[in-house]
């Protein structure tokens, strides 16, 4: 097991650890090039990746259906006859906060994919902190939206699972049991909130996949993953998920500061779309004025899983710069910023 995150920032800890060991064990390995921690089957990086930023000023559901359809239409997606699985972020609930993907956006996306011809649109999540799904669904408003749309909710923490051998070895876990609802999806759509994250720097479509790892096996709050290392787990899970994917980021209201639970709302007024999760997350980071290549897992993902380098991104919809917002971050992440936070925490 390579790290423990519950006692501090894993990246910061690793930096400190490397400083501590400089000249010692680290030096002893100099000159011995480590093999890449991924197999050829894990490589999904293409020559270029497209992302789209579309304006969405509020959570009016009818308007969001149109924005989502516009966003989907900018990519070569054909969902006719396919089962689409939407995976929003529903990790916790705080009536004062903006923790979760907004239910109106989830409902609008259900409707949008139905209009695009999907045979079924399922909403699936394995909440990370709480085990009381009835409460989470009702308090967050997602339960009411699901009833209105008639969409089925799948509790990924307790779904039937299949063993998936990992194509990468960032954690050394070797395999994961993953939910059949996700593995059998015709299209899997990660729908995170645009947020800072107090261990990883940012949490977007890649980190959102922690919610597909069944807590009934791996514990709450996804304990095995945190124990094995947050960054490595993000990379291992994303490389392991070999299904057609799409990503829609709720950037209408994001979260800055001490995310992903206790930060403050920050208005950005956009939805972010794309097939390449690395490209989408890199763009999300830039929208928050964070350098994606300074985010450990995005920098590593850029080497094999997708494109974080803006020179390799094709920007569709609005310009990124027209919506870029200076998010506050915890002081330990200030060095990741492309401009200083107005009021660092």
């Amino acid at each position: 097991m390579s790290g423990v995150t519950y006692w501090g920032s894993p990246m910061a800890d690793r930096r400190d650890f490397l400083k501590l060991m400089a000249g010692g064990a680290a030096a002893a390995t100099m000159g011995c090039a480590d093999p890449d921690p991924w197999t050829p089957a894990a490589v999904r990086k293409t020559d270029r990746s497209a992302v789209a930023v579309l304006p969405a000023p509020d959570y009016d559901e009818a308007r969001l259906v149109e924005v989502v359809r516009d966003g989907i239409g900018m990519f070569d997606l054909d969902v006719r006859g396919r089962r689409v699985v939407l995976k929003p972020n529903l990790v916790e609930f705080d009536p004062r906060g903006v923790i979760n993907t907004h239910p109106a956006l989830v409902a609008a996306t259900v409707e949008a994919f139905r209009l695009e011809g999907a045979t079924e649109v399922v909403v699936a999540e394995g909440p990370g902190h709480r085990r009381d799904n009835e409460y989470l669904l009702e308090a967050s408003g997602l339960g009411a939206q699901l009833r209105d749309t008639g969409a089925r909710f799948v509790d990924l923490n307790h779904d039937a699972v299949r063993r998936v051998e990992l194509k990468t070895s960032f954690t050394g876990l070797g395999h994961l049991y993953l939910p059949e609802t996700v593995l059998d999806a015709g299209l899997f759509v990660s729908m995170p909130k645009l947020k800072t994250h107090h261990w990883a720097g940012v949490t977007l479509s890649m980190k959102n996949l922690f919610g597909i790892v069944p807590s009934a096996i791996y514990g709450w709050p996804k304990n095995v993953l945190h124990w094995a290392g947050l960054e490595g787990s993000i990379l291992d899970i994303n490389a392991a998920l070999d299904v057609p994917r799409f990503n829609i980021v709720d950037g209408i209201l994001g979260m800055e500061g001490n995310g992903p639970i206790q930060g403050e709302a920050r208005e950005v007024g956009i939805l972010l779309f794309g097939e390449d999760p690395v490209a989408v997350d890199a763009t999300g980071a830039r929208l928050m004025s964070i350098d994606p290549l300074a985010v450990g897992y995005l920098s590593k993902a850029d080497a094999f899983l997708g494109n974080a380098d803006d020179a390799l991104l094709e920007q569709r919809g609005d310009s990124l710069e027209s919506h870029r917002t200076n998010f506050r971050v915890l002081s330990m992440f200030e060095e990741m910023k492309t401009e200083p936070s107005a009021e660092p925490e």
């Binding site: 400190d16 009702e138 308090a139 514990g219 304990n223």
Partner: protein
């Protein structure tokens, strides 16, 4: 301390009827109606039916015994075949069927050997050198029970292990028993939220207080049923009403009702709300339904924890 609740003529255990109707051909239950049988739902349903005096409990206990691994542990689901935290719930359920039987006692011995891990050596070294990096304020030397073998101890698996082992006091002769229970008590005290109650097990992160949840608070209160003198017990019981103001899930009402009953607190209002919720129950989680069946039992200490 045990009290008998005066029910108001409503069939006290509609939840039991639902459970019987949902029992699988194999005698077990899955997490949701129609799912393949798994250990957590089956253990809780078996317990609920046993306490209700329902013969269907027998097939459920048979399922549990058949699913037990050679190590004494239970897997999350038979297809996984790896020991899991659900062992606590299986042992707890079997403690009502055959407490001195091999199945329960072997499970208890596995539990006694199962320990959460603390911080790794280099993390401890880092915190000595860089104390500002210590983002949470936990006593990482305390050992409880983890969700997954080899990882950290958390409130809920620790609580379940403790109620199982406290139930089997007198049936398991093992020098580690009292020592581990004592350390479990101390771990729960350490993990209590600042204003009372428990969440999954982090009272503070980066200096900011985190809030408690009803279900985990109730689980910890059940585990500390025989430790009413500890200040976090009164504090936990004290925050339950406020939590239930904004949460009336079947799981929250059921577990809090059981915690109140076990600690001799008036549970009438909680149970009345639960009765209403069960009447409208359709296809929620089976484990919540099983906890509800237990909470709706007229015996306030239906879990047999008040005397340790």
């Amino acid at each position: 301390m045990a009290q008998t609740l005066e029910f108001r003529g409503i069939m006290p255990n509609l939840a039991v009827s639902h459970l019987i109707a949902l029992q699988g051909q194999d005698g077990g239950w899955g997490p949701y109606p129609g799912d393949p049988s798994r250990t957590e739902a089956t253990a809780l349903a078996a317990l609920a039916l046993q306490r209700a005096g329902e013969p269907a409990a027998g097939r459920a206990f048979d399922w549990l015994r058949a699913a037990q691994l050679d190590s004494g542990a239970w897997p999350i689901a038979p297809v996984l075949a790896e020991p899991g935290w659900v062992t606590s719930l299986a042992v707890f359920a079997l403690s009502f069927d055959e407490p001195a039987g091999r199945s329960a006692t072997n499970g208890a011995r596995w539990l006694l050997a199962e320990e959460g891990s603390g911080a790794t050596w280099w993390v401890n070294l880092l915190f000595r050198l860089f104390p500002q990096r210590k983002a949470v304020e936990l006593d990482t030397d305390l050992t409880g029970w983890p969700w997954a073998t080899g990882t950290f101890s958390w409130v809920e698996p620790t609580s379940y292990a403790m109620i199982a082992l406290k139930r089997l006091r007198g049936h398991v002769r093992d020098a580690r028993l009292e020592e581990r229970l004592d350390e479990g008590d101390r771990l729960l005290v350490d993990r209590a939220c600042v204003g009372g109650g428990w969440n999954y097990g982090n009272p503070r992160v980066l200096g900011e207080e985190l809030w408690p949840y009803p279900d985990t608070t109730a689980a910890a209160l059940l585990a500390l049923a025989d430790r009413g003198e500890l200040p976090p017990v009164a504090a936990g019981l004290g925050v339950v009403p406020a939590m239930l103001e904004e949460n009336e899930s079947i799981l929250a009402l059921s577990l809090c009702g059981l915690a109140f009953g076990t600690h001799g607190v008036d549970r009438t209002g909680v149970i009345e709300r639960l009765e209403g919720r069960i009447e409208e129950w359709s296809s929620g989680e089976v484990r919540a339904l099983a906890w509800a069946a237990l909470a709706l039992d007229e015996r306030s200490d239906v879990l047999g924890l008040s005397n340790g």
